[in-house]
């Protein structure tokens, strides 16, 4: 059943490409997206809690992104239209990305997880290069190279861990299963297992965009079309962190835990400070949001490095909330770009006068960590966790970095909210379809708002329970 749901987006989108009428294709894709999302929710009893959370988030946001892309298809430049940029190919690649993410978060072994994560790279390279033109193609090349090398290192790490498990007498069939490896953790206190676990962390951290393996992220996220940027920033980074949590689940049972947490904490602190500092230097809204992703990846890494129930709660809540808010930000940038014809921060004006502009302002302020947004809650909890864990210096550095990141986003919000839109609305898409995209924005925004009140609901106790299980190595 899990395999069927995983493959469904790819197969159904191939079927949806058959009808000759555009409206019929749009309807079929929207219908199949809803079916996939419903089927993913139906899978929940068959998955463990962590997989269920990520699978549902992936399917919910992908459904909305597909509907949005149907309404506002990112048109490539006429001079440099790559052969893969036609709508059927675009949606097939989106479906392949969806399938590979579902495969990754529902796998039960490191090889399955690796295969899913690596398939996301292959599916999204063409999507990054969708708009054509020199910089988009080069960003795609850089993305493919760095992520392929990074993820290969993760697989070599998994082989080393399997060898160490074999040397300790573990059965051949269990050597890639994280639940079996966790049970066998006490026998994995060897330098080989430690090296393997660290290489896996480095490999998956490349995909998560943690500094210093982040070089691909700002280019790929900024040069991709808006819905692809939303998928990459909101979901792909979350899936990479899912992989890191799975590796950490094994590490907690070994003597590599302290070193693993140290590396994660240092990488997180570097990502947070560098991401926030570089946000100040950006003059393009998509690049600003890309560096903001690096900043938030740093927050999640620091929270995970605490390896406490509160740390896991912060990391998971922050990842899910960030997925919604960042998707909202990129999707509304897509509408603003179609209305004003630019992503240059110096030229975007009058955001408060248009619904998509208001959505972008809401997302920018939310990403800055302003109350009452959900990201404010997780950042506040992180500060409290750092202080209560006596990580005073890290708390100070994180507080300064968060203020810098907030200042960069606030500057954009203040500059672009005022005035009148610089360019008249483009008429490239029919109004009904643009409305389709706008409805999607409101749905993602409603999701982000719902997540902001989530910690105050009784259901938050279930996330805390999961966090306790993860912190105890379960």
């Amino acid at each position: 059943m899990i395999v069927a749901v995983t493959l469904f987006p790819l197969l159904s989108f191939a079927v949806a490409a058959i009808p000759a009428q555009r409206s019929l294709r749009l309807f079929a894709r929207a219908l199949f997206s809803v079916v996939t999302a419903v089927a993913t929710f139906a899978l929940v009893p068959h998955l463990d809690a962590l997989s269920a959370i990520f699978a549902c988030t992936v399917s919910l946001l992908m459904m909305l992104v597909v509907v949005y892309s149907g309404g506002l298809f990112p048109a490539p430049s006429r001079e440099h239209r790559p052969p893969w940029s036609r709508p059927p190919a675009f949606f097939l690649l989106v479906a392949a990305f969806w399938s590979s993410m579902l495969f990754a978060v529902t796998a039960t072994t490191f090889v399955g997880l690796w295969a899913g994560i690596t398939a996301t790279t292959l599916a999204t390279t063409f999507l990054v290069a969708h708009l054509g033109g020199r910089t988009a193609l080069e960003a795609a090349w850089k993305y493919l190279m760095l992520c392929s090398f990074g993820i290969a290192v993760a697989l070599i790490g998994a082989f080393m861990l399997a060898r160490a498990a074999g040397d300790a007498g573990m059965l051949a069939g269990d050597r890639f299963s994280w639940s079996a490896l966790a049970q066998y953790g006490a026998h994995l206190n060897t330098p080989l297992a430690r090296t393997g676990l660290l290489l896996m962390l480095v490999g998956f951290a490349t995909k998560a965009g943690l500094v210093p393996m982040h070089a691909w992220l700002p280019d790929a996220h900024a040069k991709a079309p808006a819905p692809v940027s939303a998928m990459l920033s909101g979901l792909l980074v979350s899936c990479a962190f899912y992989a890191i949590v799975r590796v950490q689940g094994v590490t907690l049972h070994t003597n590599a835990a302290a070193l693993f947490e140290h590396v994660l904490r240092d990488g997180g602190a570097l990502s947070l400070t560098l991401g926030a500092a570089l946000m100040l230097a950006q003059r393009d809204i998509k690049r600003l949001l890309s560096y903001s992703t690096i900043e938030h990846a740093g927050i999640v890494a620091i929270a995970l490095s605490l390896a406490t129930p509160l740390g896991y709660f912060i990391a998971l809540y922050h990842l899910i909330d960030h997925a919604f808010v960042k998707s909202l930000a990129f999707l509304s940038v897509g509408v603003v770009q179609s209305e004003q014809g630019t992503t240059s921060m110096g030229h975007i004006r009058g955001l408060r006068r248009r619904p998509a502009g208001i959505a972008l302002l809401f997302a920018a302020i939310g990403l800055g960590g302003l109350p009452p947004g959900g990201l404010f809650i997780s950042e506040l909890l992180l500060m409290l966790a750092l202080v209560s864990g006596a990580h005073y210096w890290l708390a100070v550095i994180a507080a300064i970095a968060l203020l810098v990141g907030f200042a960069a986003l606030l500057r954009f919000a203040v500059e672009s909210a005022a005035g009148t839109p610089s360019v008249a609305p483009a008429a490239s898409e029919p109004k009904a379809l643009l409305g389709f995209a706008s409805v999607t924005l409101w749905c993602v925004g409603a999701g982000a708002l719902a997540l902001a009140i989530f910690p105050f609901l009784p259901q938050a106790a279930r996330l805390l329970e999961l966090s306790r299980t993860l912190a105890s190595g379960g």
Binding site: W84, T125, E138, M145, F149, I156, M160, A162, D219
Partner: protein, 200 residues
């Protein structure tokens, strides 16, 4: 055999011609595959092995040669350093692999130094040349390195892992070459110096 293996990998970095580097890659991959030759005992396993060998040894290199011919590229990987620098890089990789193989973590694993040398040269081929074709060859070599690592670290590695790795390496190369073909429209030499505008 080990000497031939080292020479094949060294050729990837030292020689600046596309075809010599591809020859080095094919030789390296052939030797790496010989480590995992399953014999004729199980027909299914043997068939998968033949498919893997075909994909690695034929599909990858032929697609690079096709791009070279189709785009009229010069038989040149555009080295970043002079010959002496590239030889020094190979010697450095050799020293690094030798030292890594002697670390306590790997001291009792046979042939582990070869894996580290293959890994180091896969990365070095990208560093030592400015042509995107060198990046693609590096990616293919990395795929074969992962296969070698599988045999060295987990002798009974599940076939699914090796299949996934092989198709990943070759698919990544094919995807990369499709992108390179588009890049060649504006950057006919496929030189990374023409890609300096991005500031990730």
């Amino acid at each position: 055999m080990t000497f031939l293996f080292l020479c094949a990998l060294a050729a990837l970095v030292v020689d600046a011609r596309i075809r010599t580097a591809l020859l080095g890659y094919v030789l390296f991959t052939g030797i790496a595959l010989s480590f995992s030759y399953p014999g004729l005992g199980d027909v299914r396993v043997f068939a998968i092995f033949v498919a893997l060998a075909f994909v690695k040894l034929v599909v990858g290199p032929v697609s690079i040669l096709w791009l070279e011919k189709h785009r009229g590229l010069r038989n040149d990987l555009r080295p970043s350093f002079p010959l002496g620098g590239r030889i020094a890089l190979v010697l450095f990789a050799l020293g690094l692999a030798h030292s890594a193989g002697r670390l306590p973590a790997f001291s009792d694993i046979h042939n582990v130094g070869l894996v580290f040398f293959a890994l180091a040269t896969s990365i070095a081929v990208v560093i030592a040349h400015r042509s995107l074709i060198a990046n693609a060859i590096g990616l293919l070599a990395l795929g074969s390195t992962v296969s070698l690592a599988a045999v060295v670290f987990v002798p009974h590695v599940p076939m699914s892992a090796e299949l996934a790795d092989t198709f990943d390496a070759v698919l990544a190369t094919l995807v990369g070459l499709a992108i390179a073909r588009e890049i060649a429209r504006e950057n006919p030499e496929l030189d990374v110096r023409g890609m300096r505008e991005l500031r990730g």
